[in-house]
Each structure stands twice: as structure tokens, then as C-alpha cells.
Subunit: 432 residues, 2 copies
């Protein structure tokens, strides 16, 4: 027997691949409606492309190795460094804002946990060269639509939006020092998943005072702009720092997406490189991991690629989204039915079957026929097994009259059709 | 500056990616018309999956390494071993014949030659469970159509077909021993590229007699069935062994593809695992490497996967095909134009622009607008730069009348349209 696939890697049989086709096709359609253009880079990159940004500790999670030429290389764990390199290489020739998307397969090598994958696909959308808050709304709207397009509504998933500039101002206004700010970020980030007393305990351990803890708890519960203004009153210039966030939320409302959006200051995003808006998409019941995360990273392209352009974007993976779609019964059935099955009665019909098959395929129809001589009944059973909508039977009597028999396999009806008109007849029948 | 991509790896900028979209989309459409279903496997596989078939020498060409768990692994150099494993794992549950295709990215690590890639994409189509010659015709026809669909005709490319069973019978009939047969295969394989005297010299060096050399040279020039019958007369039962080949060629003729097909006994295919029909697609001028190669490998699934099923298939790469399309001027232009650009005259139009943008995107249109406030002239220049077909201008006077202005940017005409009818109006205008 052949070796099994590597742990954490997936085979995609046709029934599983049809879901991937559905995911990628829907994502491409939505991104294209936003004027985004698709790009891709190499799945294997120099290791340095990742360590330059994240330091050496990221190597523990990378699928990295030394190649035969002595190069330190890694299977890509994320798309942003590749994007930064590509934009930097042609920065002057690219129209701004740059609207690009990609659907890379990404890799990580963590200690294997049960059922944890080491590869996944991720829709990456990035908007580069636009500093203003409408750009933030555009990217958040695209993320929402890339999930909404599968038939999921505001009772299925939510986008939670925050802003690192606001958080930073709030924590400074609470009088937290640098070390306490770091703890507060971690506590906020885990707030939805950790018991309240654990969060409070961690803040107390960091010598955050009871008043500041109380206000932080209040701020954690904020979900609307009005509640935020009240909870943030007197904390530095948090309300002023939130002006871009307010305009982003207003733009999302103008787009008709307000019902999907919650202001949520516990959204921090683990990655250190975000400089403004941060957001995550979650299933509304809170049962799954985040579906999507993103935000503004205005300094990253310069750090990675040497080109100073504001940027923001998100990554939306296939795994959690698929769990949600399965849970809501929104995974479509196998789309691989054929249109027409051709059946010949005698050996002498065989070459006519081949000629007609090719004529119909040239016209764009999905056509199959039996590849070896078989009785008519067996051929029609094969037509059923292939989910054919129509079967065409070619026999000597009909041939003598210049005709064929077309059977509608669902309706159990049949019609005699002129051989020279059968292409147009079938196209019409399949359209109906 | 960030590190360059690894040698032999490609970045796909949007203008390059649009060609990939065209290639993959066309291949998918053609394969689907033949009733083929798409599948995929992991890009990284256990090294043993490849060495089991091809022995250790293949390792010199593999992108292989030891992973962090101590496993010997390789980036996939070909798809067939993965296919064999997947079919073996579900052999009983899959309807025969199995019609599967995939478009994997494949990797090899050869000594770097100038411009030589270390990755490419390849359309793989395989038909499993069908022993007869119509199956061979079906696979060859699919390969032809997967190239023909780009607008290439019989004066652009040819498919050359042979059969290992026939070759084997011919060489035995010529009285060649085992070592001489191996040399003859190598000479035939290089026949089109090597000078005639080199081929003859190699056969002489192997002690092949002058009569046998003369007949081999005649056989090398055979391109039709009638010429084959004449040249093969008296050589064992070569004509009998060619009966499946004759039926395959007749089926291709019935399909209307005869003008693309040459019988060509110099097609050997380097890989040892072919057992019957072998074929290659070449540009008709003979200037490029093979576009596609394939054949019947009836013993391979058993050797690799432990399941005894006859099978045949082909691999069609993106690189040589792209060279041919470029050479013939058949690479389509960038398809990334948007449908509608929305422009607002004053600040107060901004939220109406957002609402309409989202309404139109929901209707499936590709829509952009300026993400920051700009004068109308600059917005319309951006519309031009984005290749928008229509621009919609929202201003205070029109808003007061419940109207918008729609500009056709190519025709330089404009119309006043009711705000509540603009979606339908634009869809109609774009369809026209």
C-alpha cells in the first residue's frame, strides 16, 4: 500500500473539491465586484522574508528547511511579506490605490494537535495607498460580503471592529504604564474566552488599580458608538482618536451593512504590526474560532519592502468558514452532473456517437458515452449514475429516418429529433 | 530591500495572473465538457511516494527535505502517485470509469539552467478503469481540445500517437535483443532532434544490422495507417498488435479530429511505465519542447496503489503552451476592467455613493469609487484609468430631482436616469 498523506494535509476528492470550487468562485466574484485583481507569488520563499518581520521566534511555526543549494527556505505561512515584496518591486508603475487579492495555500508546522491542519487556503485582500477611513470601510465591507455571499446573514456571523489608535489612547488615559498596557492588550484579546475573574486577576497582578479595571470592564462591553462615547469620556483624547473609526462605521452604515457590524474594543489582533483599524469576523453564536481577521498596517510595507505606502487588508480562511457553512446547511451538493449521455444501439452506431459527442462538446455541453460496447439498458443506467439530464439514443431505424431519440431522464419523456437539428434542440431543452 | 524570489519561481502580478485565469478557466471548461471532475492532493508528500515507483535516482531531481518531525518529504514533482494513492483508498466506492482532472503546481530541483523554472502548473487528466481503445481516443481528444480551445488549429499544433505494444512487436520482429531494444527506444525518442547520422551511428554501435537500421528509418517516417501497414509487413505480428491503435485513430477520425493527429512511431515517452498508447502534442513548426505528453499505464496503479485498474492520462504544462499562445498572438488582454465608476460632486453625496456602490455590487456589477474626497474631474480621470465602461455622477441638483447622470465613457454620451431605476438601467446598458 502507498504511504498515507502527511499529517495535517488534505486530499480533495471530487465531492470535496466541488466545495473548494464554490468557495473560490464565490470569493473571486465578490472581490472582482470590488474592483480587486488577483495575484499570486511562490509557495516557497526565502526564510528571511518571514524572519525579517517577525524575528526568529516565528521559525518554530514555519515549514522551513535548507534546500539543495544551501538556501534557507520556507513554505509560505502568510501572504503579506510576498505582497510587500511584489509591490515594492513595481511600486512606481502600479496605480494607487492598489486593490489586490489572492487565494494562497498557506503552511505552518506546529506541534500536531488532533485534527489541526498544517495547510489551509486563505482569501487575502489588500488595499494599498489609501490612508482614509473609507478605505477601512471598503475592506471591512469586502470581508463581510465574502462571507455574506454564501447565504449567511447577520444572525449567522458578525464583524467586530476596533482601532489600535483608540485602544492606545484609552489605556494611556487610564494611566497604565508600558508593561501594564501589554498585559491589558492580552487580557482584552482573551476577554471573550476567559472567565471574568481570570481577566480581572491578571490585571490586578499587573498592579492595575480597581478604578482602571472597572472602566476597562465597562469598555469591554461597549458595542455601539454612543456607548463608547460615554465609556471613554475623560480618557485622554480617545473620542478624538476614534474619529476615523466613527467615519468607518458611518460608511459601513451607508453601505447598508450596519446590521453585521459591532464596535468591540476587545478586538486587538495578536500581530504586532497593526496601526489602526482592526477587525475580526466571528460566527454569531461564538462557537467557532475567528473566520477572518484584518486591519490597517500603515508601517509594514516600509518595514518589509522599503516602500512607504499605507495599507490594510484581511485573511479569510477556508476551514472555519466551511465549518460554519456545514453547520447552517449551506454547502451545495455536487455540481458535477453531465448534460447529455449518448447511447448507441448497435456497433454501427458507435462512430456516430463519437461524432455527435464531439459536436455537442464543441457547443459547450457536458457529454459522456459508454467507452466500450454495452447493451442499451446498461448504457441508460450509466446515464442515470452520471446524473445526466438527457440521454440521446442512436439506433438503426432512427438513423434511416435522419432522426434520434432524446430522453428526459427526470421527466421520463422522450422525443424524436432530427439529427441535423439536435444540437440546437438540446441546448434549448437544457436551458429550459 | 526584501529578498528576491527563489531562482526558478514566478511572481504572478495581476496582468500575468489574468493569463493564468484564462488557461485554468479554459482547461476546466474543456475537462468538464468531457465529464471530468476536479480533484487535488497535498503539494507536499512523503518522499517514499515517488521513490517507490522511480527508484532513488529520481531524488536528484526532487525538491525534497527532512521535515521537523524527521519525515522524508518532497514537494510533488508529478501528480500520478498522489492520484494512485487516492484511487486506491476509495477504489470500491468510485464509479468506473473514473474521469478525474487536476491542475497542480509541480516542483523539481534540477541544476539551475538559464530561465529554467523549478515550478510549473500542469493540467492532469486521467481515465481509470477503461481498457479499450475508445478510452485512448477519449483522452487524446481531451488533450487536443485542451489546446484547441485557445484558438490553435492543426497548422499550429499536432498530436503524435504511437503504441508501446506495437513498437515492442516491431523491434522483436527486427530481431533486436534486449540491449538493442533499449538503444532503439532511445534513438527513436531523440530521432526528431538528433542528426540522422548520429541515430544510425548509435544503432551501428549496438550492433544492429544494416537491414534492421534501414527498416527502422522507414518506420520512423511513417505518419499514416496505410504507410504503417506497408512498413511493418512481416515484422512479427506488429499489424495485429496495432489493432487497438487503429481503432483509436479511427475513433479520433469519427470525432472530427483527424486533421490534428499523426501516427508517429518515434514517440516513445521517456517514462518506463507506459504499457500501450503513447502520445505527445507539439507545435507544428517543431520549434518548442513538447506541449503535452501522455499514454496508457495499465500496471502503474497496481504498482503504486495496490489496485489493479487499467488507466491512461496526460500532463499538459502551462509554460510551453504559453510560449505558443504568445507566438500566435492568442494571449488575451487584461480582463480586469470595471463596469461602473461612481463619482460624487459634494461631500454630501459621499454616503449616497457608498449606498449605490453596495447596491450595484450586490447586483453583480464591478464597481469602484474614489475613497477620499476629490474634484469631479479627478474622479472621472480615475474612472478612465480603471477602464470603467460607465460613470455615474451624483450631485445636489440631480439628487433634488431624484436623478443621476450616467456617462458612457467610450461613446462620450450621457443620460439622466431616475435614482430608483438606475440598477436595472445600468445592467441593461452593460449587457448591450
Amino acid at each position: 500500500m502507498p504511504p498515507l498523506p502527511l499529517p495535517g494535509f488534505r486530499d480533495f476528492y471530487p465531492d470535496e473539491f466541488s466545495l473548494r470550487t464554490h468557495l473560490f468562485g464565490t470569493w473571486r466574484a465578490v472581490a472582482t465586484r470590488y474592483g480587486f485583481q488577483e495575484y499570486d507569488g511562490p509557495p516557497l520563499e526565502p526564510l528571511e522574508l518571514y524572519t525579517a518581520k517577525s524575528g526568529e521566534e516565528i521559525v518554530t511555526q514555519l515549514y522551513n528547511f535548507t534546500d539543495k543549494g544551501g538556501r534557507e527556505v520556507a513554505l509560505r505561512p502568510e501572504m503579506t511579506p510576498t505582497l510587500a515584496r511584489m509591490v515594492a518591486a513595481r511600486a512606481n508603475g502600479l496605480r494607487k490605490p492598489i486593490r489586490w487579492f489572492s487565494i494562497p495555500q498557506l503552511y505552518r508546522y506546529e506541534r500536531q494537535q488532533r485534527g489541526r491542519l498544517r495547510e489551509h487556503f486563505q482569501l487575502n485582500c489588500d488595499l494599498i495607498g489609501e490612508p482614509g477611513p473609507i478605505g477601512d470601510a471598503e475592506i471591512i465591507a469586502l470581508a463581510v460580503d465574502a462571507v455574506r455571499a454564501f447565504g449567511l446573514g447577520p444572525s449567522d456571523f458578525r464583524v467586530r471592529v476596533s482601532d489600535r489608535r483608540v485602544l492606545s489612547e484609552l489605556l494611556a488615559g487610564l494611566g497604565l504604564d508600558r508593561a501594564q498596557v501589554a498585559v491589558a492588550y492580552q487580557v482584552l484579546d482573551k476577554f471573550g474566552r476567559a472567565p471574568r475573574e481570570v481577566s480581572v486577576g491578571r490585571l490586578r497582578d499587573a498592579a492595575v488599580g480597581p478604578d482602571a479595571i472597572g472602566r476597562l470592564l465597562t469598555l469591554s462591553g461597549v458595542r455601539t458608538w454612543d456607548a463608547f462615547r460615554e465609556a471613554a469620556a475623560g480618557l485622554g483624547d480617545a473620542v478624538g482618536a476614534a474619529e476615523p473609526l466613527r467615519r468607518t462605521l458611518a460608511a459601513l452604515e451607508a453601505m447598508g451593512l450596519a446590521e453585521f457590524v459591532d464596535l468591540d474594543l476587545t478586538i486587538v489582533r495578536g500581530l504586532a504590526y497593526y496601526t489602526g483599524t482592526v477587525f475580526e469576523l466571528f460566527d454569531a453564536r461564538g462557537e467557532l474560532r475567528a473566520i477572518c481577521g484584518g486591519g490597517r498596517y500603515d508601517n509594514l510595507l516600509q518595514a518589509l519592502g522599503g516602500v512607504d505606502l499605507p495599507a490594510l487588508g484581511f485573511g479569510l480562511g477556508d476551514v472555519v468558514l466551511t465549518e460554519l457553512l456545514r453547520d447552517r446547511g449551506l454547502v451545495p451538493g455536487d455540481q458535477s452532473a453531465i448534460d447529455v449521455f449518448l447511447a448507441g444501439i448497435g456497433e454501427e452506431d458507435a462512430s456516430e456517437v463519437l461524432a455527435l459527442a464531439h459536436e455537442l462538446r464543441d457547443a459547450g455541453l457536458r457529454v459522456e458515452y459508454a467507452l466500450s460496447p454495452q447493451p442499451l439498458g446498461k448504457q441508460l443506467r450509466l446515464a442515470d449514475a452520471r446524473n445526466a439530464r438527457l440521454a440521446v439514443v442512436l439506433g438503426p431505424d432512427e438513423r434511416a429516418r435522419g432522426e434520434l431519440v432524446v430522453k428526459d431522464l427526470a421527466a421520463k419523456t422522450q422525443s424524436a429529433v432530427r439529427r441535423d437539428a439536435v444540437g440546437a434542440w438540446l441546448l434549448e431543452a437544457l436551458r429550459g
